[in-house]
Subunit: 118 residues, 2 copies
C-alpha cells in the first residue's frame, strides 16, 4: 500500500468493548515495525479496565473520553496524545454526544489482552 482513506477500511466491532469498533489502517503486512489502527467509540461506549502486553501511542482525533491509566484518570479531547505503557491497566469511557475517535499505534509484537477484575 501507499495511500488509502479511512473510508476504504472495514470498521470491525471490538468484542472486549461496548459500542467500540476498530480499523487496521496500516497492519503488520504493510509496515515492518508497528501497526496504525483507528478506534471509534459511540457515545456511552468504551472499554473496561484491561492490560495489553504491548504499549500504545495514541492521538485523539475527535470527541472526549475518561481514560484511566494505572492510578491516573484523565479526561482527554481532540489533539491530546496518550501513552499507555506495556502492561499498564487502562480503560476508556466515551463522554458527550459525539463519537470518541483515536489513533492507536502498537508494535508488531504478540499482544495479549486481559480484563482486570475490579
Amino acid at each position: 500500500m501507499s495511500v488509502r482513506n479511512i473510508d476504504e477500511v472495514a470498521l470491525e466491532p471490538v468484542s472486549a468493548g461496548t459500542g467500540t469498533a476498530r480499523q487496521v489502517l496500516i497492519g503488520p503486512d504493510d509496515g515492518p515495525n508497528f501497526a496504525l489502527r483507528r478506534f471509534v467509540m459511540q457515545p456511552g461506549g468504551g472499554m473496561p479496565r484491561h492490560t495489553n502486553t504491548v504499549e500504545h501511542e495514541q492521538y485523539v482525533l475527535r470527541g472526549r473520553a475518561r481514560v484511566s491509566i494505572g492510578d491516573e484518570i484523565h479526561e482527554v479531547k481532540t489533539g491530546d496524545v496518550v501513552f499507555i505503557p506495556a502492561g499498564a491497566p487502562h480503560s476508556y469511557d466515551a463522554l458527550g454526544e459525539e463519537p470518541f475517535e483515536f489513533l492507536c499505534v502498537v508494535p508488531n509484537q504478540p499482544d495479549e489482552i486481559a480484563i482486570v477484575d475490579c
Copy 2:
C-alpha cells in the same frame, strides 16, 4: 508522560523543508519502539524529494498535499493514510489555502535524510 496536548509541545522548523515545522509528540524517551510526530506545512510549503533510512506511517489530520512516493504521485487529504517504505524517495507540496497537517510515526532507529537530486 501519560497525556499531553499538541499545544504543549514546541513546533520546530524543519530545515530541509519550506514553511514546514515539526512536533515530537511521543519521542524515544517516552516510547520504547517508535516515535509519534506531527508536521505542519503552511500553504505553498513542503519538502523536496528525499529519502530516509526508516519507514513512515502517516495520517493526514488537515488540509491537502501532493505527495510523491517512488514513481507514484498522490493528492492526499484529511483521513488519508500514507505508508512510505524505508529508502523510498518522497516529497510533499501543500495545496490549497489551509495548512497541511499530518502525523508521522517512525521506528526508534537511526535515521538519515538525503535530498534526491532532480
